[in-house]
């Protein structure tokens, strides 16, 4: 398959199986990008951070970015169209009936069943990416990322800090560690 068709298909599939947008798409994207060997996991996290900190749908930002990294501008178009298509086509086909579908007991039941799977997926993705971030294990080099992670999670959970200031602060902390010569 040519790289553009592959990008389109991968992002179409990612979008089709994720409900609730944003973060819920991250596990599927990470899986796809990693199993296809498109990007190292560090680069994936970099793209995720930039997608978070720029305006617009995170999924579109990520698709555009990943598509560009893998196959240039045509790749970014293929991935972006792929990620937008499933929801848009479904809603165009259903039209305003979509609101009735949401009320059906069967749909609600499926959504309830989906929740544990979704939480498990997000947790597994956080753990997998987190382990990739500290390749040295328990070592001094792991200290700066661990500190930033702990401070970030604390702020999110107890202060409800929005993503934008959180990311700005962490970027500043990263630069401070770099200037201080901490590995």
């Amino acid at each position: 398959m040519n790289p553009y068709a592959l990008l389109f298909w991968a992002f179409f599939k990612i979008s089709l199986f994720s409900i609730g947008g944003g973060y819920n798409m991250v596990p599927l994207m990470q899986h796809e990008v990693e199993t296809r060997g498109w990007l190292p996991s560090g680069r994936f996290m970099d793209m995720l951070a930039i997608s978070e900190a720029t305006p617009g749908p995170i999924a579109v930002n990520l698709a555009t970015f990943a598509g560009y990294q893998v196959a240039g501008v045509p790749g970014s178009i293929a991935a972006t169209v792929g990620v937008c298509l499933p929801g848009a086509a479904l809603l165009l086909a259903l039209g305003l009936m979509a609101s009735h579908l949401r009320e059906t007991p069967a749909f609600r039941a499926a959504m309830r069943g989906l929740m544990p799977a979704l939480v498990g997926l997000l947790a597994a993705t956080a753990i997998r990416l987190g382990l990739a971030l500290v390749p040295a294990g328990v070592a001094p080099a792991s200290l700066p990322p661990l500190l930033i992670f702990a401070a970030g999670l604390g702020l999110i959970l107890w202060r409800k800090t929005p993503p934008l200031p959180l990311l700005a602060g962490s970027a500043a902390a990263g630069i401070a560690f770099m200037l201080a010569g901490v590995p």
């Binding site: 199986f17 305006p55 749908p57 929740m115 993705t125 999670l153 630069i175």
Partner: protein, 177 residues
């Protein structure tokens, strides 16, 4: 309408989950095309079908206001600002991954991104996993993912399937509630 959705696409920081106030300000308060209740209703629908919330929302609002063509146009308009901003950034940053300032900032951003994902998992879990059984199911799902026993798509299908199966079982007459 295209202009309105371009504006939304260019100002919605934080993606779909944080976009409700942006929709509301543009479509209800500024243009008076929809009521706040309609915006909230369509936002809820956009969240419960697959895909990109903001794009889904643009399709629904376009459909309601002016039909299919407007829906397609709105969806394209809402995605365009992101597309161009990211292309510009990718071209800019992509040539400078090795720069020490970029590398320092990214080294700080990576753990923050993981904290955001972990925070999303915890928030969602607190909201929806109110019984030990559901928590155990989530833990089992995470373990299967980490052990690479199962991919994300089968896990999602299994979850939805399990929900439907429990629902069918409860509906059968005579079955235990």
């Amino acid at each position: 309408m295209a202009w309105s959705f371009l504006r939304i696409g260019a100002t919605a920081f934080g993606g779909g989950m944080a976009a409700l106030p942006v929709f509301e300000a543009e479509l209800a308060a500024r243009r008076r095309w929809l009521t706040s209740a309609e915006v909230a209703e369509e936002y809820a629908i956009a969240q419960s079908v697959p895909g990109v919330i903001i794009v889904n929302f643009a399709v629904l609002a376009g459909l309601r206001l002016a039909g299919k063509r407007a829906a397609v146009l709105s969806a394209v308009a809402v995605a365009l600002p992101s597309f161009f901003v990211i292309l510009a950034l990718a071209a800019l940053v992509g040539a400078r991954w090795e720069n020490r300032w970029v590398e320092g900032a990214l080294a700080g951003l990576r753990p923050a991104v993981i904290a955001l994902i972990a925070g999303a998992a915890i928030r969602l879990g607190r909201l929806h996993l109110r019984s030990p059984l559901l928590l155990a199911a989530a833990a089992a799902g995470a373990a299967l993912m980490l052990g690479r026993v199962i991919g994300p798509v089968p896990l999602i299908l299994a979850g939805a399937g399990a929900g439907l199966a429990v629902h069918g079982f409860r509906r059968r007459p005579g079955a235990a509630p």
